[in-house]
Amino acid sequence: MEATAVHRPLHQFKLGLQAGVSIAIGYMPIALTYGFLAKTTGLTLSETLLMSLLVYAGAAQYMALDMIAKQIGVIEIIFTTFIVNIRHLLMAASLNEKVESDRPVKKALYAFGITDETFSVAAVEKGKLTTGYMFGLTIIAYLSWVCFSGLGFVVGASLPDIFQEGMSVALYAMFIGLLVPSMKANIKVVFLAVVAALFNCLFVFLEVLSSGWAIVLSTLLSALLVELIVWLKSEYGGSTS
C-alpha cells in the first residue's frame, strides 16, 4: 500500500523543519552572545563549539561560563547543569504522551534535541507527532545553535547595540506567539499559563529557589491545581462548561 503524502516521513521531516524556523531565528541572538561571552571567558573556539555540540542548553552554558570565570570546580558545574536542566525530565515525559511509538534508538536520538523551545513548538501542535517531524524540528534548531555559537565567537559583538536590545525579546515573543492561539481556543490554557506565571514570579522575587527549580515547581503546581479543579468540577459540579 502506498502511504498518503501527509504521512510520508520526508514530508513530516519538512513540516518539522518549517516549524523550527522561528526557533532557529530566536536562537541566533542568544547563541551569538554565548559565543562572544565564551571568547571573553577565555575558552578556545573548539571548546566553545564542543559545548554547544554536546550540551546544547542555553541557560546551562551561560551558567557554566560564569562558573568557569569564577574558578568553580568541575563537579559543581556538572551538578548545577543537571539541576538547571532537570525541567527537561518533565517536558520529555509530557512529550512522550504525544509522540508516535517508535524504536527506542530513534526516540533517544531526537530526545537530545528537546529544549524549552522545541518542546513548546511540538507540544502545541495538534494531534500525534511523528518521528520525522521531531527530527526536522530538532535538527534545524540544533544547527542554528551550533553555527551561531561559532559565529558569535568569531565576530564578537559586532551587531549594532540597538539591534541587540531588540533581539533580546526574540525567544519570549516566540513563547507568547505559541501560547496565545491556544489561550483563545481554550480558557483552561489561560488559567494554566497565568497560575504558573504567578507562582514563578513569586519564587523568583522571594529568591527561594534557583531559576531552574522555580520553573519546574511552578509548572507542576499549576498543571496539578488546574487539573484538580477540572476533575472536581466534573465529579461534583457537572452543570458548568
Binding site: 527537561h88 517536558m91 509522540v99
Partner: protein, 104 residues
C-alpha cells in the same frame, strides 16, 4: 583544548542528556492513569507561562521595556499573526524604541 574543560563539557552533556532521554525511552510501554495524563498534557501551557514571566521583564534594566515587548507580542499573536511575524514584529518595534531612546 584544555582537558579538564573537555571533561567538564562531556559531564555537562551527560547531565543534560539523561533528563531529556530517559522518559521517552523508559516510559515507552508505561500507561499512566488518566489524571496523571491530564496533568502531563497541561504541562506545555503551564511551562510557557513560567518561561515568559518574570523572565521577559528582565531583558533590559528598565522592566517597562520587557513589558512593552510582551504587550506587542501578545497583540500580534492575538490578531492571529504567525509565530515568525510575532517574533520579527516584536524585535522590530523594540529596536525602534531603543533607537529613539538612544537619540533623545
Amino acid at each position: 583544548m584544555n582537558s579538564s574543560i573537555v571533561w567538564m563539557i562531556v559531564g555537562m552533556g551527560i547531565a543534560t542528556y539523561l533528563p531529556r532521554m530517559l522518559p521517552l525511552v523508559v516510559f515507552q510501554k508505561v500507561q499512566f492513569p488518566p489524571f496523571l495524563q491530564g496533568v502531563l498534557k497541561n504541562v506545555p501551557f503551564a511551562i510557557l507561562g513560567a518561561l515568559i514571566f518574570p523572565g521577559i521583564l528582565f531583558i533590559q534594566d528598565d522592566i517597562w521595556f520587557g513589558m512593552l515587548g510582551a504587550v506587542i507580542a501578545f497583540l500580534l499573536a492575538y490578531i492571529g499573526a504567525n509565530v515568525i511575524i510575532v517574533v520579527i514584529g516584536s524585535i522590530f518595534v523594540l529596536s525602534i524604541v531603543s533607537y529613539l531612546l538612544a537619540v533623545f
